[in-house]
Amino acid sequence: MERPLTQDLHTDGTPLALDEYERTGGYQTLRKALLEMSPQDITNVVKQSGLAGRGGAAFPTGSKWSFVPMGPDAPRPKYLVANADEMEPGTFKDRLLLEYNPHQLIEGMILASYAIEASVSFVFLRWEYKVAGERIERAIAEAYQAGYLGKNILGSKFDLELHLHVSGGRYMAGEETGLLNALEGKRANPRSKPPFPQTSGLWGKPTIVNNVETLSNVPHIIDKGAAWFQGLSLTDEPGTKIFGVSGKVNHPGLWELPLGTPMQEIINEYAGGMRQGLTIRGVLPGGASTDFLTPENLNVPMDFKSVQKLGSRLGTGTMIVMDDKTCPVGMVLNLEHFFAQESCGWCTPCWAGTQYIERTLHAIENGEGQIEDLDRLEAHTWKLGPGNTYCAFAPGAVEPLQSALKYYRADFEEHIKQKHCPWR
């Protein structure tokens, strides 16, 4: 099985050094691309490959780039940002790419910058990723030294600056336009769209924001082509995906596998199945802001469309497994506490709604709930749903709640009836 993103990684915890990365073919694609391909050629190959964003929304990467104004009259400077904020609870996949193969990300960023004619790029890194920060910083310095960054890269007349920015925190700093405000030194409230960042982003200039995993795929796609990339997956959505499993499984971890690998294969074979005495009651397929899937659906192929058909989302592809000895109400309370805390406060349904949800769940979990609370919670799942708030935070926040009310209603009712959490 081919694992382009991870097959060359060390297993001893050290990152791939520059010369090791070069020996695996690293930066040779860049050389070929800068000297033999036009920016449009790069965008076209990425478009043909069908690469979809790995930050959670699966937006087609090539089309996103194609909205950037090009040519001599385009506004300048243009910017490229690698979104390394990774703050979605239960998500830890970008950490792997950042810590173990920083040059792969940098090469992807240079190629993407060339494709959109960006001259300045940033890695937007969450504060907590200290090891990643050190390694990215060193890799950037090495790339400058080797002539892969800076002026007239490899004699191509293409110039690119790359900087590391360490974030001040908050989940909303990872939302595309919240991130732009954070980089500009403002509060990470989102911006209204349109204008889209592709035409008016950082300081009003065209800007592309892509996830770390998305960008890390780019060198391989440019090197081996669109058809190769499509051949990597088991379904019609191309490429591999870094999947993760956390919770009470025997071997929690991360694995790069073909898109479309069945969920049960990942949980049972790669993560070693449930710990002794436990069974699965539910899975959040891709982070905190995705709907629960129930045990009957474990055969779902892990790709964007298949998971969506079941009423959830692939999200970040990092699964959180809920076992039969974990209280669903307590788990949803934990998730909604996160959302209530991280709401940026910009629009009322979200800041007031997430706090109401947390308070109500807290009451139910502590035996002070009323049966009518369940209807009130349900009403909030659509009040905070798509179209009613300023950004995608709130619809994401109610996804685990709405599915929990559907699948684990009896557990909520038991809390209310018994006036305490039956699991404690």
Binding site: E128, K130, H165, V166, G168, R170
Partner: protein, 153 residues
């Protein structure tokens, strides 16, 4: 007054961006590294240096949780309180810390040695429960190990 070293590090932040406002978050993190937290005086000095208003800086400082506007202890303990660590029992870790340090989340020990904080998902869910002390990550932490870990500080 900003020290020469602080100014040098803040200038490196300024060089990355076309505006001083953009450098403000990095600048506050620089000052915090040297001073522990951002006092009103520090904010005023930085506003002067970056030619921004104190209010502009404070609106940012109060948004981001990694910037402290109150004094903190010498070491910051951050315990992941998000979902995977919750499933794996972060609460017993928290309770053990409460007991050992005799403080709760958001508080500092009387000797100013430790400040204890909850932190959103640390992005290391396959090693849950996890916590950070200053810049160092501790994985698969058991309550029993805490005595040893804390005695290293």
């Amino acid at each position: 007054m900003l020290s020469d070293e602080e100014k040098k590090e803040i200038r490196a932040e300024q060089e990355m961006f076309p505006t001083n406002q953009a450098a403000s978050i990095g600048a506050m993190l620089v000052l915090q590294k040297h001073r522990g937290w951002i006092s009103d005086d520090t904010l005023a000095d930085l506003a002067d240096f970056l030619q921004l208003t104190v209010d502009e800086l404070d609106s940012v400082a109060t948004f981001y949780d990694k910037i402290f506007r109150k004094p903190v202890g010498d070491h910051i303990i951050r315990v992941c309180d998000s979902v995977s660590c919750w499933i794996m029992g972060y609460e017993s870790l928290r309770d053990q810390l409460y007991q050992q340090l005799q403080i709760k989340f958001g508080e500092t020990t009387p000797d100013h040695k430790f400040t204890l904080l909850p932190n959103v998902c640390l992005g290391d869910c396959d090693h849950a429960p996890v916590m950070m002390i200053d810049d160092r990550l501790y994985r698969n932490v058991t309550p029993e190990e805490l005595v040893q870990i804390l005695s290293d500080y």
